[in-house]
């Protein structure tokens, strides 16, 4: 789950505003040897980011695919002989378009920076955005009928339509995870092996089942059937059956 690639750590993906932002940062980075940022790592880092976000932004994900595909086309072109490249006319075009779009995006970033600096330099500009507290006396009031009631009806219909669109229900399948079976599974593994790590105990289970198994471990600890130790954050969780480790109990009593 945590980004495994060293690149992801180094890039600190969190503040990136999208795939263009990420790629532009990579492309424009002089200091670093570009060989150290292979596209494979970019993909892994991006996947980790999606994983962490917990949801996939389809538009941005498809942009990312286009972007990576273009990079791969570029690479293929460089690996092939010129004659073979002739047969890939689209690659040239795609690379040019990507470069043009990245250059355009660099200008957007520069404009955004200018706006940000402007805001910081001018400070908050506070002004009144509605009528003042007291109205002046109004000797004349032009009340000629200029409005069309049908416009009001149309406007409300539009509001209703949009409200309905936005409330479009999303259907999700509820998944049943057999908690008791996982409890038995963990209990059995720990008892038969005497001791093992959590990762070993849940090998072969999917993510939902692993989460449920973790709950099962907590329950077994609570019931006094299992003892568990983790020496550092994200380190392996070592579990043993409570009866198998008399010294563990002593240590627990001393603590």
């Amino acid at each position: 789950m945590a980004p495994t690639s060293s690149l992801a750590m180094e890039l600190d993906l969190e503040p990136f505003a999208g795939p263009f932002d990420l790629l532009l940062a990579l492309v424009l980075r002089d200091a670093l040897d570009l060989g150290e940022v292979p596209v494979a790592d970019v993909c892994l880092a991006y996947l980790a980011e999606i994983d962490a976000a917990g949801e996939i932004d389809l538009e941005s994900a498809s942009e990312f695919l286009v972007l990576v595909a273009t990079l791969l086309e570029l690479k293929i072109r460089l690996l092939l002989t010129p004659e073979l490249v002739e047969e890939l006319p689209d690659a040239q075009e795609a690379a040019e378009e990507l470069a043009a779009r990245l250059a355009e995006y660099a200008r957007v970033q520069a404009a955004a920076r200018w706006l940000e600096e402007r805001l910081a330099a001018t400070g908050p500009r506070l002004f009144r955005e509605g009528p003042p507290a007291l109205r002046p006396p109004r000797p004349i009031l032009d009340d000629t009928a200029t409005g069309d009631p049908a416009d009001l009806a149309a406007a409300l219909a539009l509001v209703m339509e949009r409200a309905r669109e936005e409330a479009e229900p999303i259907r999700m399948l509820r998944r049943r995870i057999p908690l008791l079976r996982l409890l038995d599974h963990v209990r059995r593994v720990v008892r038969t092996r005497g001791s093992c790590t959590f990762d070993e105990a849940v090998a072969g289970l999917d993510r939902g089942e692993q989460a449920a198994a973790f709950w099962a471990v907590l329950d077994l600890i609570r019931a006094g059937e299992v003892r568990a130790r983790q020496t550092e954050p994200f380190g392996p969780i070592r579990m043993r059956a409570a009866g198998h480790a008399a010294h563990d109990r002593e240590r627990g009593a001393a603590a």
């Binding site: 109205r135 002046p136 006396p137 009340d143």
Partner: protein, 205 residues
């Protein structure tokens, strides 16, 4: 009390959309009430009729600035000119919500339209098409808004809200404002995720 304190109090009075009493001014300015009173004394001279186009006045709820009487005609011309500009789409939608479902509060309008309503509400207030109508008894007691008689004249609605065009979905007869509002809100906040129980096939998968 320094000159700067006076200027801060002046800025607060300029910015406020309702009269402010000494306590509110003192709190916002970070001053004692005695300092605020002194500042008011200075400002009463600076903003006296004949000295400035903006006059400081004591009203029931506190202190407020107001355009001077000598500018009344010019102000009326300006407001009429502003009122004659076409309404933005956001303002028209907000006006429709207030007309069909009013009195409504800003948070209710925002919920129904799905976007904050501060700017359109200000612009409609300024044009005199909507006005305040007490406070809601919901949490936070937000101000309520309703359409004005001016609105009825501008849109030629002789019977007020009963002359509003029918909207098919709302039924043959125009339902009460309460009904319209609750139906609009129900539409907007409808539970967006429904969880389905899997069939036996899903379970085995």
């Amino acid at each position: 009390m320094t000159d700067q304190d006076t200027r801060v109090v002046e800025a607060l009075l300029f910015l406020a959309s309702e009269p402010l009493d000494e306590r509110a001014l003192a709190e916002a300015a970070g001053l004692g009430e005695a300092d605020v009173e002194e500042a008011i004394e200075v400002l009463l001279e600076r903003h006296a009729p004949g000295a400035s186009g903006v006059v400081l006045e004591r009203v029931a709820q506190g202190w407020a600035l107001r355009a001077a009487d000598e500018a009344a005609l010019a102000c009326a011309r300006l407001l009429d000119r502003l009122a004659q500009r076409p309404l933005s789409r956001a303002a028209l939608e907000t006006l429709a919500v207030v007309a069909y479902a009013g009195p409504v509060s800003r948070p209710e309008i925002a919920r129904i339209r799905g976007v904050a309503a501060d700017n359109p509400v200000q612009s409609l207030l300024e044009r005199g098409l909507i006005e305040e109508a007490g406070r809601s008894d919901r949490p936070g007691q937000p101000l309520l808004y309703r359409t004005t008689t001016r609105f009825e004249r501008v849109f030629s609605l002789e019977e007020g809200r009963h002359s509003l065009p029918r909207i098919e979905e709302l039924g043959e007869d125009l339902p009460s404002a309460d009904e319209v509002r609750s139906r609009l809100e129900a539409m907007a906040v409808q539970e967006a995720v429904s969880i389905e129980e899997p069939g036996p096939a899903a379970e085995s998968a």
